[in-house]
């Protein structure tokens, strides 16, 4: 065994402040604000615009040398006032960058005596997200936790529920809303970037895109009947749902990403139990069609070998789905280092795969070359590897930088599984058809 590689080569993860910005974009009237260098905000905006193809404004306190040496308090206060003047936000989410954290910025102290100059003043949420700790997933979760920690209120129990969906697509969030509405459930989904990051053409520019979880809905989260938290990689880690449970006694239900039939069943059953209602017929029919499609296409996929990569929860969900349809996940990799991927996969019945956490694309490539995979499943950053291996890439998750519609990819539930299944089967059929010397016209 050679010594471990010290450098990360083509990272399979992003930094925590990106996750913070994504989460904050899902709160109504919110502006993300990075405390640190100007570049972080701009890079994150660019990265997210290339996926969502939507305006993505992130403010920054734009540290210069002076702020770095003497502290960024004045930059922070002035920056917040400028953001307030320009955007008239309801919420400003202040996430720290590695620079602010390294020089030991204390935002609470910096905000003492801060005069926002506007009435009502925007609510301020603070979260610590240094790039050197964890990944974008951690930044996302930390932000949601900070949001509920500073904004959620307790009181008499009410009938609504909280849903924390994880880093899913805007289409997934729209679908989750449709599902909960189908159960007549009053659900607060946090975050909700289904409209802010997948909005319509406008006649007038909106300073802050319409949509997002309303502040009032966040405030009442402490009075909810239960919180559904989607993501097994979170098990054991402090999250928004655990914070609400600890503070207000709201029951936390942790589920895997409902990808594929089995995990979707568990999700729908949970909603049925919570509401005492049966799964609405429309979803049952979708489930029926999905399994019918599985049968129609099963031979085209059986025994094929897949490499799956991305955030731990996405990887676990996709791998379980692939296993369910007869594809063998031979490598499950994530840049995240939660240490939970192996257990999540085991609990989903995914066996035999090489599991790597803390992996980069160079490592994924080195392992993949020895595994003769038929397909890659993950975000668009695997394209170079897919091209090298001469196998197709099925684009899922975030980011998708080389196709349109990344924000509309559906992963969750029966409908998401249907779309994924069609994509997997047709991609495999297409690559076989293209390679065939005959060029069959019936498949």
């Amino acid at each position: 065994m050679t010594e471990p590689v010290a450098a990360t080569r083509n990272a399979c993860k992003l930094c925590a402040p990106l996750g913070a910005c994504l989460a904050l974009r899902g709160i109504e009237g919110a502006v993300p604000f990075l405390h640190g260098s100007q570049g972080c905000a701009t890079y994150i905006r660019r990265y997210m615009i290339s996926h969502f193809r939507e305006p993505m404004d992130v403010a920054a306190s734009s540290f210069g040398e002076a702020a770095t040496v003497f502290g960024g308090g004045e930059n922070l206060r002035r920056g917040l006032r400028n953001v307030t003047r320009q955007y008239r936000p309801d919420v400003i989410g202040i996430a720290t960058t590695c620079l602010a954290e390294t020089i030991g910025e204390d935002i609470a102290v910096a905000l003492r005596g801060y005069d926002p100059e506007t009435v009502p003043a925007p609510a301020l949420v603070r979260v610590s997200t240094p790039s050197y700790r964890g990944t974008h997933v951690d930044g996302y979760q930390a932000t949601l936790m900070a949001v509920v920690d500073s904004l959620a209120e307790g009181g008499d129990r009410e009938s609504h529920i909280n849903v924390f969906p994880g880093i899913v697509s805007p289409a997934d969030i729209r679908y989750l809303k449709e599902i909960t509405a189908g159960f007549d459930l009053d659900a607060t989904i946090l975050p909700d970037y289904s409209e802010t990051l997948d909005g319509p053409q406008l006649e007038e520019y909106q300073n802050i895109p319409a949509g997002g979880t309303p502040l009032a809905a966040i405030r009442r989260m402490g009075r909810a009947r239960a919180s559904i938290e989607i993501g097994r990689a979170l098990a054991g880690a402090p999250t928004a749902a655990t914070a609400i449970e600890r503070k207000f006694g709201v029951r936390r239900i942790n589920l895997g990403w409902p990808v594929g039939v089995r995990e979707s069943d568990a999700f729908f059953e949970t909603l049925a139990e919570l509401t005492g209602r049966p799964v609405p017929e429309a979803h049952q029919k979708e489930r029926g069609r999905l399994i019918d499609a599985y049968v129609d296409g099963h031979k085209y996929v059986f025994g094929r070998r897949a490499v799956v990569y991305g955030e731990e929860d996405l990887v676990a969900g996709i791998a379980a789905f692939l296993a369910e349809i007869g594809i063998v996940p031979v490598l499950c990799a994530s840049g995240g280092e939660s240490g939970t991927l192996e257990a999540a996969l085991a609990s989903l019945g995914v066996e035999g795969a090489i599991v790597r956490q803390g992996a980069d694309f160079a490592t994924i490539g080195e392992l993949a070359r020895g595994l003769s995979p038929d397909v890659l499943v993950g975000n668009s950053k695997g394209y170079a590897l897919a091209r090298e291996l001469g196998i197709p890439l099925i684009r899922t998750g975030f980011p998708i930088h080389d196709r349109v519609g990344g924000q509309r990819i559906l992963h969750l539930g029966y409908r998401g599984a249907q779309q994924l299944f069609d994509a997997v089967v047709n991609t495999l059929l297409a690559s076989e058809q293209d390679r065939s010397p005959v060029g069959y016209s019936y498949l």
Binding site: T8, G36, Q38, C98, R133, Y205, K381
Partner: protein, 452 residues
């Protein structure tokens, strides 16, 4: 829309007197600047050097967001497209990142055998006090290749300071190679980054004139070429913001004169060839005629197409927001050739003299702005009823959201826009967005139709 008090001096409308536009300063805090940082400036400039290893010393973000970020093509090695980082973690921040940096450098150099290595310092490296110079010197000694620190801590100024840091690293490389075989009629092409293969087009033009191209810095760049770049007789500097530092260094250290040029648009491209020909006429009396012949032949090939697009674009209104102001000059002229009027123009990093030049170029009423932000830009697009916005990825959604056509003149372009053929491509790009039928369905256009 209300322009921030902190920024009021950075927006100017031509016609107002006296002319005053503040620039070249740190972004107004909280303004949502379209600028990035010092690191970004260095990274984009050095990125295209294809046989060098580029290691970002810092936490994961800086490297992740700059992986394969520019469409800078290489005719050979592709090492520049791999994103290497020391991916610093909390313990590295506490105990220092030098050991990790040393190990990473040694392993990567052994594995990839680069001709040189650039080590980019990010924000926290400057704060935790890693001695990158010392580590680089040690590795350079041990591995026998140049290992060049790039002092690009994000907070140490603006993107422009990043250009300077990149040029400082390049300056250390120049003058270290043999100049044997370098002709007295020779140039370096500075400040073209070979997006969509543009530097190949430009290089071919100069070679047709009989001018030897010693180094292209940095598009399709090679370490060995840069090492002998000091042998060239003349430096042609495009994208003046990023490469003037290096041109000035070469002038001071090696006495090489430089000329500012641009390869965008017919006028500027022709001028670049004529200026070069004039410079070398004393060595090669026929060069002026060859330049004229080349320009004539190229124009004959592209002008019919350009005239055709012009007839369909005449009278349309354009807005420009780009990184460097120098590019904006060319764009204003190129749009004029297409019969289009520039009603707003701005840049991230322009200087006093750049904005003065823009003021001279533009018509009365044109908005000129430095270091703008999305809210201002969206308001300007609406106010000026713009048909086309030219910018980069971050400007695109502002245009599209408002139903305005867009042309990427930045890292993501896939079609060469430089040179004579580039002008024809540019016309086609502009036409393909402005003439699209999709706008007819957008709310803004429908409102206009209703108002008629």
């Amino acid at each position: 829309m209300q322009i921030l008090e902190d920024r009021k001096q950075q927006v100017y409308r031509k016609g107002a007197e006296p002319f005053r536009l503040e620039c070249n300063r740190q972004s107004a805090v909280g303004s949502v600047s379209q600028r990035a940082c010092v690191f970004c400036g260095s990274r984009v400039v050095l990125y295209p050097i294809a046989d060098a290893l580029h290691l970002v010393h810092g936490p994961v973000g800086c490297a992740a967001y700059t992986w394969d970020i520019r469409g800078s093509l290489s005719s050979g090695p592709q090492l520049h497209r791999v994103s290497f980082t020391t991916d610093l973690r909390e313990m590295d921040v506490i105990h220092g990142g030098e050991k990790k940096l040393y190990r990473a450098l040694c392993q990567l150099i052994d594995r990839h055998a680069p001709k040189a290595t650039f080590v980019y310092s990010t924000c926290i490296v400057g704060v935790i006090g890693d001695d990158v110079e010392a580590v680089a010197a040690r590795v350079s000694r041990e591995k026998g290749i140049p290992v060049l620190p790039v002092h690009s801590e994000g907070f140490r100024g603006t993107k422009r300071d990043g250009y300077r840091a990149a040029c400082n690293a390049l300056a250390r490389l120049t003058g270290t190679g043999s100049v044997e075989g370098v002709s007295p009629v020779s140039i370096n092409i500075l400040g073209d980054f070979n997006l969509a293969g543009e530097v190949w087009t430009i290089r071919e033009y100069f070679e047709k004139l009989g001018v030897q191209v010693v180094a292209t810095i940095t598009g399709d760049g090679r370490v060995d070429d840069i090492r002998r770049a000091h042998g060239a007789a003349l430096n042609l500097v495009q994208c003046s913001g990023s490469m003037t530092y290096l041109a000035k260094h070469l002038e001071e250290r090696w006495g090489t004169p430089f000329r500012r040029v641009s390869y965008f648009g017919i006028e500027d491209m022709s001028q670049a060839l004529y200026d070069t020909a004039a410079f070398f006429e004393r060595h090669d009396p026929g060069i002026r005629d060859r330049a004229a012949a080349l320009v004539r032949a190229e124009l004959e090939a592209v002008m019919p197409g350009i005239r055709d697009y012009r007839s369909r674009l005449e009278g349309r209104r354009a807005a420009i927001y780009v990184g460097g102001a120098f590019k904006a000059f060319s764009l204003v002229r190129a749009l004029r050739l297409l019969g289009m009027k520039t009603v707003m123009v701005g840049s991230q990093t322009g200087l006093d003299e750049d904005y003065e030049e823009l003021r001279r170029l533009c018509d009365d009423g044109t908005i000129i702005t430095d270091d703008s932000n999305p809210l201002e830009l969206s308001a300007f697009l609406a106010e000026k009823e713009v048909d086309l916005f030219i910018g980069g990825v971050k400007e695109r959604p502002i245009a599209y959201k408002l139903g305005v056509g867009f042309c990427d003149h930045n890292h993501e372009r896939k079609v060469p826009l430089a040179g004579f053929t580039g002008m024809l491509n540019f016309a086609r790009e502009v036409y393909s967005t402005v003439a699209s039928p999709v706008w007819k369905l957008t709310p803004r256009r429908q409102r206009k139709e209703r108002a008629k």
